[in-house]
């Protein structure tokens, strides 16, 4: 299944792109997906280890990392906000 990951602020700058599409097996959880990403691309380790970053799934903050992803889901990686 296809999952889009959106990058913002310093993550976008670091990865030099605003979003990316990944393929995961059906019924993959957010936690499993993040572990797969860290193994594939070591630069994800810093991001998933950073407690200041919030993870959103389809515009709702992910509270339970065991949540199961669905085809077409959009995950966003959000550093602390600095607008206004």
């Amino acid at each position: 299944m296809k999952i889009t990951i959106k990058y913002f602020s310093w993550i976008r700058v670091k990865l030099k792109k605003g979003s990316e599409e990944f393929d995961f097996e059906k019924n993959t959880s957010f936690k499993t997906a993040s572990n797969i990403l860290i193994k594939k691309h070591p630069y994800f380790k810093e991001i998933f280890d950073d407690s200041s970053i919030k993870f959103f799934l389809n515009l709702s903050e992910i509270e339970d990392h065991e949540i199961i992803l669905k085809d077409g889901d959009v995950i966003a990686l959000l550093p602390p906000v600095t607008g206004g």
Binding site: K6, F8, S9, W10, R12, V13, S52, F56, L59, A76, L78, P79, P80, V81, T82, G83, G84
Partner: protein, 154 residues
């Protein structure tokens, strides 16, 4: 009304959008690009504002609704610009309106405090060709959390 826009806005026009004879009080907060001097004495040439638009719109709508309910506002408009902005340019406008002044004033402060701490915007300082992400200010989070006695802040 929530507006996230590349375009500049005019305060009188924004006022006229919510002007009503039912109101006796309007409060405005306007944030602008400050000609800041950073630690290393480098002056910024401007800022760049990034936004997760779908999320920011949803977050601002929720904040607006909270403010309207908590302070019995007749209206609450929020305009936030994105993209590149020069020194002195307008970034954000919050307007609240109510019958009596105390409500519009408190609500306006609540909205900007909440926006600063929680809404999906990111600021970059521009130095010539370079952009540096502005660091999150813990002060902004602390200021917002002071509202938790008054408004349900999550």
């Amino acid at each position: 009304m929530i507006k996230i826009t590349n375009e500049d806005f005019n305060l009188e026009e924004e006022f006229l959008k919510i002007s009503s004879k039912k109101n006796g009080a309007y409060s405005f907060f306007l944030g602008t690009v400050r000609d800041d001097i950073l630690k290393n004495k480098k002056k910024i040439d401007g800022i760049f504002l990034e936004c997760y638009q779908d999320l920011a719109h949803q977050q601002l709508t929720k904040i607006r609704n909270q403010a309207i309910q908590q302070w019995q506002l007749t209206e609450c408009n929020i305009v936030h610009r994105i993209g590149s902005l020069g020194l002195g340019e307008k970034i954000v406008l919050v307007i609240t309106s109510s019958k009596h002044r105390a409500n519009s004033i408190s609500a306006c402060e609540y909205v900007i405090d909440n926006l600063k701490a929680n809404v999906a915007f990111w600021k970059f300082n521009i130095f010539g060709e370079n952009q540096e992400a502005v660091e999150f200010k813990k002060k902004d989070l602390d200021k917002f959390l002071q509202w938790s006695n008054i408004v349900k802040t999550n």
